[in-house]
């Protein structure tokens, strides 16, 4: 292992430049005095220093483009550069959201077509592109659930999620005003009996992802749907795991009513260091009237924005959606085509199982067996050597790999959730396995104090939570 991440003693911008304090306030004469700013202590920094700063910071940032990033549930696949290129066209970037629709026909066409592709891939009838991310897709979906039930005169106040659900599911339900019911899973699956027992007139919806968070396909999904639908509730599909089944199944064909898509996962738009993403929501026909406004509508050759939708839930964010992200997803889908997407899911699942088969020899795989696009190991056995999953994850960084998602889902002790995606080569997977093996033979002391080859050593997160330093001003005060 010869890996070392770039490491620079890079000061903060505020330490590089200095701020000009002899500003001529008379220039502000057009601003009412009471509300006029008196000091603007932002540094002036030469372009040379600004650029160097960010080049250095970028090199100190692990990314898909620099290495393997098997963060479970996040689908860190490679983002084709063509999508970046076309998203930079001024015909894409220089559009204002309040332009007259006649002047944005191209943009509306792209979105209209993208809605159609997503509907096909999701097995649903109508799609809105408005939500800014997966979590907002969930929020949107739950507002649709609410509108649907209240339209039928029966307000319902409970949303059920499995205990393996991603944190956004319960959080979105709560934000939409629902009481949350968590059902424990059984051998890594939804416990249908428990579900049957819980579901009732108060149930507004069940939120599920399939394959589930453990990477296991819920074989009984049709049965689950029946239980939910019989109770008059709706079934919501968290699209985070759609990458496993594209072209082979659809949430629609599994009888889900509502589905959100994570374009930044399944459709290869880059994750942006935390965002932006896009979380379009698709629904079956009977829920279409509730979708947010504006709707993109096609009239012959022309496209328009329709705000006159009496049953619509309203708008979940300003304007039509994260257009620049949508453009990238559009590019991806058009480049892949049906076969390409089908192939992607095949390789995603094959890669995950290849890794799973190798790594389950080293770590316990709870609820054994085959997986779909990801799998969750337990790092429990590390304890015998005085180590934790946490340490192991840090040490993986030293070997040049990003760590898996750790300590999620909560039902697996010392969880490591691994999602390789289809864009990794078997060579990379083999090297990853070799790193696992190597670490298991390393001196526990080294592992426990890892990482050593990153731009900084182990970060003291407790201190961060104690010191509460969120900006340069406080930091300067503290370091003095």
């Amino acid at each position: 292992m010869n890996y070392h991440q770039a490491s620079y003693d890079e000061p903060l911008l505020f330490e590089i430049g200095s701020s000009d304090d002899d500003f001529d306030v008379s220039l502000l004469r057009d601003i009412p005095k009471q509300i006029r700013r008196e000091a603007l202590p932002l540094p002036d920094i030469p372009e040379r220093e600004v650029f160097k700063h960010f080049v250095r910071l970028s090199q100190m940032n692990f990314s898909v483009d620099s290495g393997f990033y098997p963060l479970g549930s996040c689908t860190m696949k490679y983002n084709p550069k063509l999508a970046e290129q076309v998203a930079r066209y001024s015909k894409v970037t220089d559009l204002h959201p309040e332009q007259d629709p006649s002047t944005v026909q191209g943009a509306l066409q792209i979105m209209n077509e993208l809605e159609g592709y997503l509907a096909e891939i999701g097995g649903v009838d109508a799609v809105t592109l408005q939500p800014a991310a997966g979590a907002q897709g969930e929020f949107t979906g739950l507002q649709i659930v609410r509108a649907y039930h209240s339209d039928r005169g029966g307000d319902r106040n409970e949303v059920i999620v499995p205990d393996t659900a991603h944190g956004t599911n319960p959080a979105s339900a709560a934000m939409a005003g629902y009481d949350l019911i968590e059902i424990p899973s059984k051998s890594g699956h939804v416990d249908c009996d428990a579900l049957e027992a819980i579901v009732g007139n108060d149930t507004a919806a069940l939120m599920l992802t399939n394959p589930n968070t453990l990477g296991i396909f819920e074989r009984d999904v049709i049965g689950i749907a029946d239980i939910v639908h019989r109770a008059g509730a709706l079934l919501y599909y968290d699209g985070a795991n759609l990458n496993a089944i594209m072209g082979r199944s659809t949430p629609g064909s599994m009888n889900f009513d509502i589905v959100h898509f994570n374009l930044h996962k399944t459709f290869a738009t880059p994750h942006g260091g935390g965002g932006p993403g896009a979380g379009p929501v698709g629904v079956k026909q009977f829920l279409e009237p509730y979708l947010p406004v504006p709707r993109i509508v096609r009239k012959g050759d022309r496209f328009d924005l329709d705000y006159e939708r009496p049953k619509s839930i309203g708008t979940v964010r300003a304007y039509v959606g994260n257009f620049a992200v949508l453009v990238r997803a559009y590019c991806y889908i058009r480049m892949m085509g049906a076969e390409g997407l089908r192939d992607a899911s095949l390789h995603a699942v094959a890669n995950a199982n290849y890794l799973r088969a190798k790594l389950e020899k080293l770590f316990e795989l709870p609820f054994g067996g085959r997986r779909m696009h990801e799998f969750v190991l337990s790092g429990r056995s590390l304890k015998e050597r005085g180590l934790r999953t946490f340490d192991f994850a840090k040490r993986l960084l030293d070997h040049g790999f990003h760590s898996p998602t750790v300590y999620f889902p909560h039902i697996v002790d010392e969880a490591m959730m691994i999602e390789p995606t289809e864009t990794e080569s078997s060579d990379t997977l083999d090297r990853f396995v070799a790193a696992f093996e190597a670490i298991l033979h390393e001196d526990p002391e080294i592992v426990q104090t890892a990482p050593h080859n990153t731009s900084v050593g182990r970060v003291d997160e407790v201190k961060a939570a104690r010191n509460l330093i969120f900006n340069f001003g406080s930091l300067k005060a503290l370091e003095k």
Binding site: L57, A132, A133, P170, L326, G337
Partner: protein
Amino acid sequence: MIDPEILKALGISSPEELFEDIPAEARISSLKLPEPMDERDFIRHFKKIVSKNITVSETPSFLGGGVYRHYIPAAVREILARSEFYTSYTPYQPEASQGMLQAMFEYQSYMSILTGMDIVNSSMYDWSTALGEAALMCHRIRRGSRFLIARSTSPVRKRVLEMYLRGIDASVEEIPFDPETSRLSVDSLEDKLKGEVFGFYLENPNLFGVMDENVFEVSDLLGEVPLVIGADPLSLAIMKPPSEYGADIVIGEGHHLGTDPNFGGPLLGIFGCRKEHLRKMPGRIIGATTDATGKRAFCMTLQTREQHIRRDKATSNICTNESLMALAACAYLAALGGTGFRGVALENLEKAKDLSGRISEIDGFRSPRFDAPHFNEFAVGCDIPVDRLRKRLLEGGIQIGPSLSKDFPEVGEAVVIAVSELHTEDELNKLISSLEGTA
């Protein structure tokens, strides 16, 4: 198709076995999608479609309302193209992600200076959802059933606010503005404050571009009721930070610091608050700390507020946010520096004032519609219906916003005109002569 080595390693003979858990009823045989394209063909196809767009850089546009076009330095564009930034994700492993973490800390620092807030998170989706989240946060600070907003709030954002309040079953009530100046009617606010009010929201500059000094009277009136201020960060280069007039929470839109309008997305929701409210705040926060050797380092902190730890008790459901936009804003502010940033703000202010003055000389238009100092946009009263005007200007390739009369009947036929440093003299002249032609 698939590496035979892999099939062998998995002990299966056909790739289809990998999917055998999917029940037959749930299977599909294929997707109906257009044929795949290679790069060359896609570019041709795509260019053909987007060529139908008429951009706001090709033709003069005076649209604003939260989304603006400002000059983006070349260095900023190059920084955003660094793929180590844009192909990374939430910095769960701080040791390997110091680059983005430090940049987010710097962004927070910039925004703290601009807003005067003790802490600014590392982004919300946009201004409108930041407003929704701010109202929910007010509700956590002070329970109640009524959320007040200035009537001079953007209707676009107001609609999203209503959506976000649906879950807590709260009502949104408007405080009217002074018909002459569009400044907040402080008396009306006082009247409405009785009852279960859990927050008050005001945009400054307001929807009509007016810089409102009345805000200095608000804080005392509100007492314990949290004050939320919405502001364009560019205006904060020359206007007092809202902390100075008692804001508990400051929100705003920041996309135009470093990124293009992009048809309205992605945007950058700015969200800051005073430290006493810290634990009630939504969104990701980056904190400074040290590594094992004592070297300065950064990491996400106070995660117990967030959905991945706190689940249904979280302060928000937000997970993927708009970090890259925050990076853009940080790089933009660094590239401009305080001097350059203030310069842009001033240039916008002056350009708006000049343009308004020129329009005021045209028969059939009153400009500015409201008698008060404006920042970078201003309302113009029109004798003819704005929809008609809009159409006519569009024929000449000029884009303006929709009529205010729909959302503000009391204002009558009027439209907001936004300008920026990017407007050329030619473009301004073109607007003027077109307006002269329609009057």
